[in-house]
């Protein structure tokens, strides 16, 4: 008699919603245009805002879209520079140093989403040094969701669009299907430089299935880098 295959680990699920969201497409990151649905990397960040431990990471299984996709546009004043380490050193040395936002004004438009609600389904993946059973972390996560606890305020794509979260309900996904093209799957921060992974995203009857692994772009490690390089 052969042993039955191990039962799949029960997934985590959480419902998030908010009045606004922007999951910026990479090709329109200056005058921002959002993907029509939440990206897996945004979902991971949101879960980590609720509960994070170095012993595990989240793997997003699927994202259910619970509200019809609706858009808004807004134009805001921003600045055209980021704070550099060099500028911080100079500011520390010279207390009169100031950043003049008016001199670096940059108006940017955003085409974002409004009235969004998603149900995120994810698994916990233990890291090699973890010595506890994953059920421990799942239970911790669920308890935190039930009492509304979070390490930092979860947000929907950009920090100014904060999210509320709750236990999953029985709300059905929207009855819509669409092809979204290449979507950011995840960002790997483990190396000296960021590496981006992508997948071909499509929504079938309101559900975006997320593959376990995204595809790295050829030459990603050498060419496509983030600010940590």
């Amino acid at each position: 008699m052969t042993a039955p295959p191990p039962a799949p680990a029960p997934p985590l699920a959480v419902e998030v919603e908010g009045p606004f969201a922007c999951f910026t497409r990479p090709e329109f990151k200056t005058e921002r245009v959002s993907y029509p649905v939440m990206t897996p990397s945004a979902a991971t960040g949101l879960l980590e805002a609720i509960f994070w431990k170095p012993e595990f990471s989240y793997r997003i299984d699927r994202i259910e879209v619970l509200n019809p996709i609706a858009w808004f546009t807004v134009r805001r004043n921003e600045v055209d520079q980021t704070v550099s380490a060099d500028w911080v050193r100079r500011a520390m040395a010279d207390p009169t140093q100031r950043f003049d936002a008016e001199a670096h004004r940059d108006q940017r438009s955003m085409t974002g989403l409004r009235d969004v609600a998603y149900r995120i389904h994810a698994h916990i993946v233990l890291r090699p040094h973890a010595d506890a059973h994953p059920a421990k972390y799942r239970d911790q996560f669920r308890r935190r969701v039930e009492r509304g606890a979070c390490f930092s305020q979860p947000f929907l794509g950009t920090r100014e669009f904060s999210a509320s979260f709750a236990k999953p309900s029985q709300r059905p996904p929207i009855a819509a299907s669409a092809d979204f093209g290449a979507m950011l799957h995840s960002i790997d921060y483990s190396g000296a430089r960021e590496t981006y992974r992508w997948f071909h995203a499509s929504m079938v009857e309101g559900v975006v299935a997320v593959p376990e692994h995204g595809a790295e772009l050829p030459g990603a490690a050498t060419v496509r880098t983030g600010g940590r390089g």
Binding site: D106, S109, E194, R228
Partner: protein
């Protein structure tokens, strides 16, 4: 998404310029023969430029010419067609710096010509051009009066077509642009098309200035994808360093967008943005033209396409086809995508058909509901004036976003924003006028924003509707008609110069009871005047008006409403308009019956 949909549309764009070419206005032409000798010379044998401008084309002729967005301290040349500064080394000023820069540009231009000549091999035209510049004859060329260093000049070889349009020139120019614009990015997977291809450092071509409206003045060239400062890119990196785009998606999308924006059949310019649309597989179906112009034949075609059974290969094509639309604005030199629509064609057809079903309304002149084009629905939100040719709306007096909001509502099958409704109600009150476009817009607002299925306002008068606001509007129309009929001149048939609608429509539709009860009192005098005039037609009219007023009172379960909100005011105005148009149709019917000898008394109608 947007970029891929645009790039994929390239095969369907007629007269799309070659890669990295665009229509440019060329003022001058330098013509040489096949031996590299100038065709036109002055008395001293120096080459002379010929002027391509004439009375019809004062700035020159428009040619597809090499073009790439160039910037920096040492902007590179374009192939064959460039400014006088590049082609002939004409400096922009008299300073030594300007002279040196012109010399540098001219040298770079000739170097690029050499690359082309080598690639062209034994091409006679390329050899002739090379000989001309090698001999240095360009330095002796006489400048025409009024020529500016920034004027474009093209080269022409006798007996040959434009050399810059020859295949060798196209290949050379494409390779040159690819080398300039994708030198650092290398090869990789394009985010847009998911293919492994050479990637771009920056987009070679911008959207042409003027194609995207800007609120003040003429716009400038705008980049579709732009990362120029450290705060815009990931980790402070600029350009396309973190946006893998291949040449086909990056350059192709802009070229197609330029072509679509230049085509009136594919764009609709609004005060603050432009809508551009296309079908994945082009069909002979004016979907957007139907919305924008509302020609009856176009509307009928949309309904016919929608109702056609979805069978056979052609129908499968419609099912698989997609409708794309983007609303674009500009922020300085960056394109802003305000909206992107990507839906199946049948869904687009349904939305357009629903748009007409929700707004079209019967007017005074016809018996059938008539649709209104989007531009007129937007325009009627503005001011108007009575001219000798009739009522005319003043262009640009409508809210800037009216066109965009209405198109959004049409393409998304949603209600327009209520801010526009309050604007419309305010304009109706200020002008004392509800005409066909305004009534259609009111019906659209009411049916989409307020009505459930059984509360929808039909396109013709609903004589059984008991909404107090609607009945009040109808009653106001009858009182106005009665006043006009009772006070009209018996000789000329003209009524008073100003009616109760001219005076109190604005306040009557917001506070009906306070305004209309005095009018009801006065109507007794008008009825008495008809009753005692002695003319049989007046007495018949008295009976008709009296009966109609009583019937309308019977529809009211309570006194007239005290105050009406935006929804109620819309119903009031709709009742007012539909009662008038209904009465007009009735009069026309009776007049026709009398003309045909069927003997119904025309005046037995209010």
């Amino acid at each position: 998404m947007l970029l891929k949909a645009l790039a994929d549309h390239a095969p369907h764009v007629a007269d799309l310029p070659p890669a990295h070419y665009r229509p440019r206005t060329v003022r001058w032409c330098l013509t040489i023969d096949t031996h590299g000798r100038p065709q036109g010379t002055d008395e001293q044998g120096r080459p002379v430029l010929s002027d391509l401008a004439d009375a019809d084309r004062r700035a020159g002729v428009v040619l597809n010419a090499p073009y790439v967005y160039r910037s920096g301290a040492k902007p590179p040349p374009t192939l064959l067609v460039d400014t006088l500064e590049y082609v002939l080394g004409v400096p922009k000023g008299e300073s030594e710096k300007a002279v040196q820069e012109a010399l540098r540009r001219n040298t770079a231009y000739i170097d690029l010509l050499s690359v082309w000549a080598e690639r062209a091999g034994g091409d006679e035209a390329a050899r002739a051009v090379r000989v001309f510049f090698t001999r240095g004859l360009h330095r002796a060329t006489v400048l025409p009066e009024g020529a500016k260093p920034s004027d474009l000049v093209a080269l022409s070889v006798v007996g040959h077509p434009w050399p810059h349009l020859a295949p060798a020139a196209q290949q050379t120019w494409r390779a040159t642009v690819a080398a300039r614009k994708s030198g650092r990015a290398g090869t990789g997977r394009c985010l847009s098309c998911n293919q492994d291809r050479p990637l771009l450092d920056s987009l070679p071509e911008p959207v042409k200035a003027g194609l995207i409206p800007v609120p003040i003045g003429r716009g400038r060239d705008a980049q579709l994808v732009s990362v120029n400062t450290s705060a815009q890119g990931r980790g402070g990196r600029i350009q396309l360093a973190d946006i893998p785009l291949c040449e086909a998606c990056g350059a192709g999308s802009t070229a197609v967008l330029n072509a679509l924006l230049a085509n009136p059949s594919h764009r609709y310019r609004m005060p603050d943005s432009v809508l551009v649309w296309w079908l994945k597989e082009p069909l002979d179906l004016g979907l957007m033209d139907t919305l924008l112009n509302a020609e009856p034949s176009d509307v009928a075609a949309v309904f016919a396409e929608l109702e056609r059974p979805r069978r056979g290969s052609g129908a499968a094509g419609v099912e698989a086809n997609r409708f794309y639309a983007a609303t674009l604005a500009a922020n300085q030199s960056r394109v802003v995508v305000r909206e992107w629509i990507d839906i199946a064609l049948p869904q687009a057809l349904e939305r357009v058909a629903a748009w007409f079903g929700d707004h079209q309304i019967a007017d005074w002149r016809g018996d059938q509901p008539r649709p209104v084009p989007v531009w007129l629905l937007a325009r009627c939100l503005g001011r108007g004036t009575a001219t000798a040719q009739g009522w005319r709306y003043t262009k640009d007096s409508e809210p800037d976003d009216a066109h965009r909001r209405l198109l959004h509502a049409a393409l998304h099958h949603t209600a327009p924003p209520l801010a526009l409704l309050s604007h419309l109600n305010q304009r109706i009150g200020a002008d004392g006028r509800v005409d066909h476009p305004r009534a259609a817009l009111l019906r659209l607002f009411y049916n989409r924003a307020f009505a459930t299925d059984n509360e929808r306002v039909p396109p013709v008068l609903d004589e059984n509707r008991t909404d107090p606001a609607y009945v009040a509007g109808r009653l106001f129309a009858v009182l106005e008609s009665l006043q006009y009929r009772a006070l009209r001149d018996p000789d000329t048939g003209q009524g008073p110069n100003s009616t109760i609608a001219d005076k109190v429509l604005s306040s009557a539709k917001s506070t009906p009871r306070a305004r209309m009860e005095p009018l009801l009192d006065k109507s007794q005098a008008h009825l008495r005047r008809l009753r005692t005039s002695g003319a049989p037609k007046d007495r018949a009219a008295h009976h008709a008006y009296f009966r109609t007023i009583c019937e309308l009172h019977d529809l009211l379960e309570h006194p007239l409403p005290e105050v009406l909100d935006q929804q109620g005011q819309s119903l009031f105005s709709l009742g007012y308009y539909q009662q008038h148009s209904h009465d007009q149709r009735q009069r026309r019917t009776h007049a026709n019956a009398n003309a045909n000898g069927e003997g119904t008394d025309q005046e037995d109608q209010p």
